[in-house]
Symmetry: D3
């Protein structure tokens, strides 16, 4: 499980609180006396995988250090809906000020984890792993990627610095300069840090021999038919890793995995998130 950088977590939490709370909470300020204490439970309304508990905890701590947030589960746990995933107790005014921001984090992250878990379940029994992409909500990448891991997906590149990925446009530009695919990969190998892997995107089987010859560590089979993908995986066997990309859905993912591809990347995990419905139910205030 990735451990969140505390400075990045603070930046994200502060940005979220600032946009909601920087002018104060006129409702709570006007109505809720400081002496009222409360306790409340975070309760998902649906089945899924919970994520974001540490972030929610950080939100409450930032608003009021004396509020206690007590997780009952940890990120990655499966919930059925209706059970308490965390409790929060302390000043009612502080809880109300922080509630929406804490829920926004948990609902998005749990949505990502849950969708990831569905994809992972589909490929169960194969050796294929589900990986994310850089198609994350701007400013939220660290959390979006942590949520993928909570759903038992794996992270692809975090950013443009931790892996070479030679895409169609890189290739087209360099071919226009007279370079072949082998030469392109070798230039990358010669120029990029020795410590990063080199992945190459291919759109037809014809390109694979050159990619292998150039020494690609990973070949991305982009938008291929199942038959092509199976052939591509075969060509790469024992030579490099393979990644399937493009138009992956819950319906198609199993068939893709059965081609033997090593990784399937799914942009929708983070670019088209369905928030998990999670409520904050106040225990003490109900009569």
């Amino acid at each position: 499980m990735p451990n969140l950088d505390p400075i990045e977590l603070e930046r994200i939490v502060d940005a979220a609180l600032t946009e909601d709370l920087s002018g104060g909470d006129v409702t709570t300020d006007s109505l809720i006396p400081a002496h009222i204490e409360a306790s409340a439970s975070f309760i998902p309304r649906t089945h899924g995988v919970i994520a974001g508990l540490d972030v929610a905890k950080a939100v409450f701590a930032r608003v009021d250090k004396s509020v206690r947030f007590t997780p009952r589960l940890i990120d990655g746990d499966v919930v059925e809906g209706g059970e308490t995933v965390a409790m929060v107790t302390g000043s009612l005014a502080s809880i109300l000020r922080a509630e929406r921001v804490a829920l926004n984090f948990m609902q998005r992250m749990s949505g990502i984890a849950s969708m990831t878990a569905e994809f992972v379940a589909e490929v169960e029994g194969t050796d294929t792993v589900i990986v994310d992409t850089r198609k994350t909500a701007p400013g939220m990448r660290a959390l979006d990627k942590a949520a993928v891991v909570a759903g038992r997906g794996r992270n692809h590149r975090r950013n443009l610095s931790d892996g070479v990925l030679i895409k169609d446009n890189h290739i087209a530009a360099l071919q226009a300069e007279g370079l072949g695919l082998q030469q392109i990969i070798r230039r990358a190998r010669a120029q990029a840090p020795h410590t990063v892997k080199i992945e190459v995107e291919v759109e037809s089987l014809d390109e694979i021999p050159a990619a292998l010859d150039g020494g690609a560590d990973i070949i991305m089979l982009d938008n291929m038919s199942i038959a092509e993908m199976r052939a591509g995986v075969e060509m790469c066997r024992d030579k490099c890793l393979t990644e399937a990309s493009g138009n992956v859905s819950l319906e198609s993912v199993r068939e893709i995995a059965e081609t033997g591809v090593d990784m399937i990347s799914v942009g929708a995990l983070t670019h088209s998130v369905i928030a998990m419905d999670i409520g904050l139910d106040f225990d003490e205030l109900e009569q």
Copy 2:
């Protein structure tokens, strides 16, 4: 159309670029010579409403001032899929460095605008407006709300400071202290700035007379049946605005609007966004 605060826009763009680019782009740095110029077109693959053009422009400008980003449309324009919404020309290396971040903004914002437009279309001909909520992606509120406006939705409260919204938990806490709903609303009126409106959430019709008597400016009819909602709207007519909230879908929204309610708030507009599929096609590199 809301005008984005340039400082907030810079903060959001910088956060997104930092998480993708702060270690450099090892692929482009290794492969693409500085002298290569290119031009490319942003082309949606589907029908929808475009949004985020100004943000994408700011992304390219931040990476390389000499890159020219030329919108062909403006935020809020309807696209059918296949047409060019913007062109970008300049250093190929700079375009490749900024591409993913620019697309992440446009795809999310266009997704929000498009879903909003679908809801707005459903209620066409009624006097009801579709409004957003505070259930936005953390750190992205200003852009999420701008995208709602691009889809011809309207913005509800931006944050906790620009309107009083008395919810069930506020009421429960104060009733436990012995206050009735009228007293609660009057306390809010006495304590909150004179310049903000007071909205009250009610869960049954029984609460409406007290809310009106207390002087609510807006009454939120929360999770009511269509019949209840119609009765609630009737009770509030000419006395205050009404807002429907809870479990609103494209299927149900028309029927809700036909109750005569003034606003329908839809959390899914921003918490469960389906990114619009937009591609960046390089014109010059294709052979």
Copy 3:
């Protein structure tokens, strides 16, 4: 009492400490051994209303977590001069490093609270409230407005987003485009969020009927004579709130309030602050 957003408070405190302390305190660093402990009392030299105690506490905590700042009063309490409003104990060096910044906050905020209290006292017995404006010290708005509340004034708009205020220049620009005042207000109603109120500035009684007809929630009577204001208030009775603005002084405010106006806004509360004279007297060091 508004609850300060902890992130905004931290930003303001850090800015103030940075400009005073970022290069170190060469006097204290050179002279004061780390082992010396001290305790000192914050003592106003004059009558007034104290404010800024929480901010001063945050200043000391930021410089040295082990320093204890103990308020004896709370913001909004009246002081006569000579009594202790707070104690600070701990490392003498830390107290000396933080002293000036803590005093700068308390003196300005107590000055605002005291002047506000004077205006509030003048209108006692009427239903009129004293409100502030956006004429605050740049970067200090949250604290300036908290200090007004400490003096029992009320806050007007915090910023440009939490209320519509249509001023003379908006009106002139749109009249040049052929719009009348009713149309202008209706455009604002149609375009601005449903959750904010609409206030209109009028400079003569002639404009009031159109403003009422357009549906203004608040009418600002700008720079009117007492007689005009009384007539304006009468025209608006039971139709909308009224606000008096312009050239309000301690001498004139009672007469203005007696016109029955709902609010009187006083820019001087925050733009022309007379700092309260507050000293920090070291108890332990005196011989």
Copy 4:
């Protein structure tokens, strides 16, 4: 004239714009079409010394680079009231969004400059200079001190790092440890950077011989009578600089200066600012 550090200026301007504009300007966004151009004049309503023109220019540039702000005067120029000190032309919407923040800066800074100029005028013909203190509005020190210079005052220490100032509390603490004043000053000389001057606060004439013997560069005569001060100045002649401090008013400053003291520090210049009344009059919109 001090040259503002561009990074500090940007921080201050951004803080001021963020607190006013971060949620957008709902009035202008709702009403003012983007195509309307306008020009307006900054016109002081009273006599005084103008300051803050560069800051106002930076405010408009930050909101909209295409707005042109053209100063007619420079900081430090005397105005009578009624003349144009600067023009601003461009998008009406942008001008309205930036107006209040720009005015808040100019009004505070011109207020400081004007009060400083009054003190300077009082001591004209003497060799005494008027200096400021560290009693500035938190976060605004760079601008507060620039405004003092605009009024022909001089800056005292900017912060705790650019000069040693041994005050009563430092002395009391070290005397409790058994050190005499000479020893204290010598310790400071030995410990502090060689490049900074050492100033010592004395409260009676008795302390001056020891301060001189210790090698003080400047002696602050704190809260002394005119007679004492004259004697103190005499004791220090040709040995060190002298500074008068405490309860300086426009009424008393001349008499103090005539004691021959080198500097008179006036906290009120920055802690109790009376904002200059400056208006922004739109030329084009008036009919």
Copy 5:
């Protein structure tokens, strides 16, 4: 050549200018009239490799946009000492304010590039590359690593996220839990992103078979004798990359390279930098 992230560059430049210039430049402010223009040349006093030209340019631009900084060379060019590497022309006051900070950047970066080039020259003719480490000046990593590239060294991991490096302490901790080296490497392969390489530090030849069996991509031969290293390289031939680390000096580096190792990492390149002596000679002011 790595392309500096503009946001990271701005952060570093702003930090450096803030610590030098935030209180103003009292010398230049006091003495240099705004109208004086000057031009000056950056001239190294010694042989070496120049680096930091873009950073120096950014420094001047941040202080005064109207100053023109014109490089005559580019980063990575060899200089003999005495030639002009860049010219700066514009306001003398602005040049003086920015001079020290610009030189601090260029002198450190050129020192790094020059030392790197010396190491690279020593291994010329072998296939071994010289790489840097994470032992950089805190906050300066992006620039320190860019300077290594200017000297024709190569970058190792930028940070803890872009490569797995299993060190002695990781191994010891897991061996204490009962895991062997193969198992440790396989766990890393299973848990870490597929896109990163796995490097393992070994301290004796005995560990190499297990490291190879576990599937290490790179084996770091730590503090080995030349003979051991030669044997280690032989064991790894065609199986994985090898890196020599520990006590590398200009005297020993050639012998190490001749073992056939793929990379030699040199911490001193960035942790013990000898600044290049570069002067800024004013052309116009000399008489």
Copy 6:
């Protein structure tokens, strides 16, 4: 000993952690279970002066509040190599994440302190003090200067605001305008704050009379021979302080000190740092 501003310390620590850890630590995240506790010792491998202990402590606290960092020595203590200067105990994963950044700070600061101590030792028995310059690593000035003090050197100007230093280029520019050196110094005295000293750089003995006549507080003897310097010191005796600057080495510094100069400034202390070799040895993991 200078006391580090906590806000500046936080900025520097955060910048260093962000560049190393913002994407997570893929090695530790993949391998090290959260339950493993460890303790480790910071042990210098060589003789020198230790510095940076408080900074290292702040690094661990920022990564994980539960990690305990216990210094055994304080900054400025002499170490022989092999002894423990500090212990760290707690989560192994957290210690591994923070280790490199903590060491980078300690190694640089201890390197500065050690080199400073060597210079100070060379001049022992004279009255000359060793001072630093503004030639610090960009962004690290506060720590570089604290390390000089740990080595018993003294700080020269922290930045451009806390002392006037009139250099050759200032003089040349103003002489071109017709001013003599006396006039230049007097202009500085008249314009700069009274609280700062004025230092003048002279390159030949001829300039000293004018500098003294102008009233310089300090005269910098730049790049002079020992004989010239001795004569210069003589000319300045009892009139002003003197500073030697330029080409100072461990070999030459004693001879320079024996001229009687008050200060010798050494740029190499901070611009050409040799990092102290310090290791972090894990006690618990060794078997």
